[in-house]
Symmetry: C2
DNA sequence: ATGAAAGCGCTAACAC
DNA sequence: GTGTTAGCGCTTTCAT
């Protein structure tokens, strides 16, 4: 009959004592090395571990080894399904490599973002994945010396690791698809900051596709990357006198809001205005109509990002800019299906 | 002109040396105690900290103090906006109290769930919040001796801390609202048993409201708590010969799928069938029609849960079962607005 | 094959 | 007011 496990946590000392060996030996069997242990002894140790319900303390271990097998992740908006998907994918990739992830949302506040980064650093994370809410020069300012870091979903920037999608190409394809449907006045709904600052790839894609087809630029409305941001931009867009017959929206989350705005305005999608968006979140397949959208390869992005931080953590020399391309998932909002 | 900060991380020893004081004093100024330090000395120390860009190592600290100011959270489905909202709220509540949260999704796999729990335990988290994917007796099995833990969104269970919503009351109100709209055949779309215990209560609420009004139980279809789960349940529901004229759906995420199924079936909501659901996720206000739903007080839940684990971590005696009530957010899917 | 012991970076008595 | 020092739980070199 097993003893009642002691109330307080057993330490490696207790195990050593019970098994009648030194603490070093316990270490060897727990870690399967670096020294070999006689099978007999190992068995005694394992029994002691079992009896005491001993669980190694990873924190203490990390103090010695320097790695706590933890990655930090900060996303700009914990309520956007796209970033949830990123989180999930990053967690999975990390888990597969024996890491766990500490994650946090900055809610679009740069100060919160850097506070998170500092907390992670203090916790001794092995590296950080950052989908920042700041841009351009400020971005580099978020870096913490000595902390391996990769930026998610940002344009190439000097001196820092980045992984992201080929936004320009994706946007180009999306708009081209609209053009193939014969749409002539193709508008744009996009995040304000994206327009104003750095990452203008989605805009270039839209503009270039139009240019390539000899079409003029349609109306543009801004709204943040949220349901309500898309909704209000949509309301404004559909109230315009130069209402478009095609629309490229910079994210699915916004598109859901746009769909709602269209519904309220009595605008039929895709009959009156065909719509294509970006991201490929799960909900894009369940809207009415379902969204034709540029599907981001989130799994690939996450794996690449995790591999990259981990590599950086080992030999911090390399700086990489990884880009993956998204495919257009053709559904109903573009007019392909009725 | 400031020195170039050293490449390798500065430790408390370096600071002490630079400031010409002992490590204890550095500790005192960093932690603002427990001893007082002469203002002059403190200034020297702070300058040294600044110069060396010294950042205290929270891990080493926790080895001494026993607390690493970290909470663990495991949710069953990282892709459900409801759980994302829970995550976000828990993070916020924890942050406010000086804690960060390590979070993970079990993706409905009990083994993954307990693996996460073990990893958290080994990381020395101060407590865990668990929205489990297992039920009943198995639930208690997930507990780790000595690890403060509170279950989220679970029915009262013996011996364990829980915080959740008044599901039965919420469901009752929802169904009653449908009845007030004159609906007579009120169906139910709900999760398969294994997912959420809240189910039981949601079912009772539906049944009781019907009973109270002297109405018979309408058709029931099962689907998991996802977009596609709701979608397929909806497809089946609308294909039935005893199609309902009112529908209570156990979560907003499912409702979005149901809306899609209705749309495909040419069923008008609320004209043909009025719908009320549960959760109050952000997207429920942007569907077409917008969802009338029982709004969960997620912020309250999160705060209560965090407070409860923290309290448990201090004196592990108390066992509490906290329940909060949700309010019906009346929108369009019930027929109140046209 | 095993053990002794020196820390990892930090805290907090306990001296002075 | 400040310094010394003994660990927290673990890993690992260097003996034996």
């Amino acid at each position: 009959m097993p003893e009642t496990p002691s109330r307080s946590k057993a330490t490696r000392n207790d195990v050593a004592a019970l098994a009648g060996v030194s603490t070093a030996v316990v270490s060897y069997v727990v870690n399967n090395g670096p020294k070999r242990v006689a099978e007999e002894t190992a068995i005694r140790v394992r029994q002691a571990i079992e009896m005491l319900d001993y669980r190694p303390n990873a924190v203490a271990r990390s103090l010695k080894t320097g790695s706590i097998k933890t990655l930090g992740l900060v996303i700009p908006d914990g309520k956007n399904p796209y970033f949830m998907a990123v989180s999930t994918a990053v967690e999975a990739a990390a888990r597969q490599r024996g890491y766990v992830v500490l994650s946090a949302s900055s809610n679009l506040d740069p100060d919160v973002e850097s506070a998170h980064l500092n907390v992670f650093e203090a916790r001794g994370v092995d590296g950080v994945l950052l989908s920042s809410c700041v841009q351009g020069a400020a971005l580099t300012g978020q870096a913490i010396p000595g902390l391996p870091m990769v930026f998610l979903d940002r344009s190439t920037a000097a001196g820092i690791n980045t992984v992201g999608v080929e936004s320009r190409a994706g946007a180009f394809d999306a708009v081209q698809h609209l053009i193939e449907h014969g749409r002539q006045r193709i508008g744009l709904i996009i995040g304000e900051d994206e327009y104003v600052t750095g990452d203008r790839d989605r805009i270039s894609g839209w503009r270039d596709a139009l240019g390539a087809a000899g079409l003029p630029e349609g109306p543009v409305e801004f709204g943040d990357f949220s349901l309500s941001g898309g909704y209000s931009a949509g309301v404004r867009m559909f109230a315009r006198s130069d209402r478009p017959d095609g629309l490229f929206v910079s994210s699915d989350q916004q598109s859901i809001g746009v769909l709602r705005a269209a519904w309220e305005a009595g605008m039929r999608i895709p009959a009156d205005v065909a719509l294509v968006s970006f991201d490929g979140i799960a909900e894009s397949a369940f809207t009415c109509p379902a969204l034709t959208t540029v599907q981001q390869p989130i799994g690939q992005l996450a794996e690449a990002a995790v591999d990259l931080v981990l590599r950086t953590a080992q030999q911090s020399s390399e700086i990489a800019h990884l880009r993956f391309s998204g495919d257009l998932a053709v559904r109903e909002s573009c007019g392909c299906v009725n």
